[in-house]
């Protein structure tokens, strides 16, 4: 591989993109429009409350709860097991209730025996209210009359307690914004690659001392560089680098390389603008799911966690909304790195083969 040839092709690509009005429009839209719509909020939530319960003498009463609208109950042996499940996200639990041994008798005798409520930092206050109602209903069923005292204790927040420091929905949009920008650049790269393949200008390049490796390296650099640069600008404009900037920069870089690999695949198969658009959208939709999932409270479904973009989104969420450090996001970054290697390698192989068969 020749660095001077790669640099020459990169400069040419940038010149071509600069002369492309559509690409310029996309870029301007990304940098200006995305920050402007930063205030857009989601409108739907998962209304099923998955609750873990350590039951002592309320066991029979809980059998009826499963039939109650909006509740799903999982039983645990003790409080420690319930807390572990909540922290690890097992079973998509949003909260836990620990009933004391003397719950019913204490309630009947108006003694101050209270139910412990365990929640994670991401659980909204509305859940606490719903669970308070649930506990009161259980007491009503058991006693035949409303419980005389407040039965639900103050919540025990597992992990970082963000009371008074709630994550604004606007902040939750950051990963979505960042990923939109990366996707936009993916489309720009795919268009550039498709044009080069379809017009066979790449063939003219490859009968000079430039090699296929030079060509692929240049495309990788242009795609990753532009996506990283533009996503960084947008993140800066929406205040995303206020916390954990080095981690976020690394996540953006890996995310940029990830979408570049995908862009190379889309470009290799694209025959014209419309097919590039179709293939790009086909690939974008599943990749955007984790970014949308981050907008909603609760634990993310396991299939979403398996998507290539999940590591990127999760890193951005944890760092920018919870102030997570390297240790906390290491698993997500590693997963992102793995997917990036896979996607980039796939892009190089697919585009390389496409070019070789022209």
């Amino acid at each position: 591989m020749s660095t001077s040839i790669v640099a020459t092709i990169v400069r040419k690509d940038l010149r071509e993109l600069r002369a492309d009005r559509f690409f310029l429009l996309l870029t301007v839209l990304s940098v200006v429009f995305y920050p402007l719509i930063f205030w857009v909020l989601p409108s739907t939530v998962d209304e099923t409350l998955r609750v873990g319960v350590v039951q002592r003498d309320v066991g029979p009463l809980l059998e009826g709860v499963e039939d109650t609208d909006g509740f799903a109950v999982t039983e645990f042996a003790d409080e420690a097991a319930l807390a572990d499940a909540l922290v690890s996200g097992q079973g998509d639990l949003v909260a836990g209730l620990v009933f004391p041994d003397d719950f019913l008798s204490a309630a009947a005798s108006q003694q101050p025996s209270q139910v412990s409520l365990l929640v994670t930092a991401a659980v909204p206050p509305e859940v606490e209210s719903a669970l308070s109602t649930l506990v009161s209903e259980l007491a009503l069923v058991a006693l035949g009359e409303p419980a005389p005292t407040e039965l639900l204790a103050d919540p025990v927040v597992l992990g970082e307690d963000r009371v008074g420091d709630q994550v604004a929905l606007r902040e939750q949009l950051r990963p979505l914004m960042a990923f939109f920008v990366l996707m936009t650049e993916m489309f720009a790269l795919a268009t550039l690659v498709a044009a080069e393949v379809q017009s066979r200008t790449v063939t003219a390049v490859l009968v000079t001392p430039a090699t296929r490796t030079d060509f692929l390296a240049a495309k990788g650099l242009v795609g990753t560089g532009l996506a990283f640069l533009e996503a960084s600008v947008v993140m800066a404009l929406i205040g995303g680098f206020a916390v954990g900037a080095p981690i976020l920069a690394l996540a953006l870089l890996l995310g940029a390389a990830l979408v570049t690999g995908i862009g190379m695949v889309a470009g290799a198969f694209g025959r014209d603008f419309m097919t590039v658009l179709f293939i790009s959208i086909l690939m974008m939709v599943p990749l955007m799911v984790p970014a949308f999932a981050a907008l909603f409270p609760g634990t993310t479904a396991s299939w979403v966690q398996a998507l290539p973009s999940y590591g990127f989104v999760q890193t951005v969420v944890e760092v920018s909304t919870q102030g997570a450090g390297w240790a906390e996001v290491a698993p997500d970054l590693l997963m992102l790195l793995g997917w990036t290697v896979v996607a980039f390698a796939a892009g190089v192989v697919v585009l390389g083969r496409r070019v070789a068969t022209l």
Binding site: T8, T201, A204
Partner: protein
């Protein structure tokens, strides 16, 4: 002097389809080989192997004394390839296109103006290629082919579909490059063009070279040594005779010329098209 292009027993298949089946060619410096054949005959595949775009299944390629593909990068620094497709960067100007390719050849400070002037685009170099006519794009293609002053030129249908003025300009460029000492491998459908430009022509069909010789020798070998003379003997009588050139041909011609006003005289040598049909059993457009 090193032979510029040597191809020996080249073979290549696309899957089960044999595209090139034992092609042998040699082109010396300053000489032009016309590579003639119908679509799908194996011309482009052969050129792809000679220029390093494809690796032959078997056979040997040597360009300027170097082996392809082992010395591919070095060889490609000294060849120029003009493709049939107008694969130019349309969003860039003519100058930018030439500068880009000059940089790929490692040329710094390249001035595209003389080359653009040479192909008649001196005043359009700063226009985007998307604004060029077909003829202008083809001339820019030729200019791009010559950016590195190549020792070997591979030209694939360089005048296809061009207006006569542009076609003539490109033919003049090809002659000039050959005169400079470049070896030229020219593929074309145009038999007249091949006849005008080529020192040798190779007829290729179904992946095989049917014959390779000078155009003149082929025409003499496969044509008739005779002239066809039409004379007007009187106001109502036109006489046409075919006179063999062997034996007492000169006297017979003199007699024919004396018998009336000469309308036309044509030699009866075969055209390259006739010879191709003779070998392939079909024309180039079949």
């Amino acid at each position: 002097m090193t032979t510029s292009i040597v191809a020996e027993d080249l073979r290549f298949s696309y899957g089960d389809t044999l595209a090139v089946d034992g092609v042998d060619v040699r082109v010396e410096p300053g000489r032009t080989l016309g590579f003639l054949g119908p679509n799908g005959a194996g011309k482009s595949t052969t050129i792809k192997m000679l220029t390093g775009q494809l690796v032959p299944d078997s056979g040997r390629v040597e360009i300027l004394g170097m082996t392809m593909p082992a010395q591919r990068t070095t060889i490609q620094g000294r060849i120029g390839v003009c493709f049939e497709e107008k694969n130019l960067y349309l969003a860039m100007t003519g100058e930018e296109n030439l500068r880009f390719f000059a940089r790929l050849f490692g040329m710094r400070g390249f001035d595209p103006a003389p080359l653009l002037e040479r192909v008649g685009l001196g005043d359009r170099g700063r226009d985007r290629v998307s604004e060029y006519s077909k003829g202008m794009r083809q001339r820019l293609m030729m200019a791009r082919t010559l950016v590195n002053a190549p020792d070997v030129l591979f030209l694939d249908e360089p005048t296809d579909g061009l207006d006569p003025v542009s076609a003539r300009m490109i033919r003049d460029l090809i002659r000039a490059e050959a005169a400079r000492g470049a070896a030229v491998l020219l593929t074309t459908h145009d038999m007249m063009e091949a006849d005008q430009l080529s020192d040798q022509v190779a007829f290729i069909n179904e992946g095989r070279i049917l014959t390779l010789d000078t155009p003149e020798h082929l025409k003499l070998t496969y044509g008739t040594r005779a002239v066809r003379i039409r004379t007007q003997r009187s106001a109502s009588q036109v006489d046409e005779r075919v006179i063999p050139l062997d034996g007492d041909g000169a006297a017979a011609i003199q007699q024919a010329l004396a018998e009336g006003e000469v309308l036309t005289i044509h030699s009866e040598e075969a055209t390259l098209e006739d010879i191709f049909v003779h070998f392939a059993g079909r024309g180039l457009d079949a």
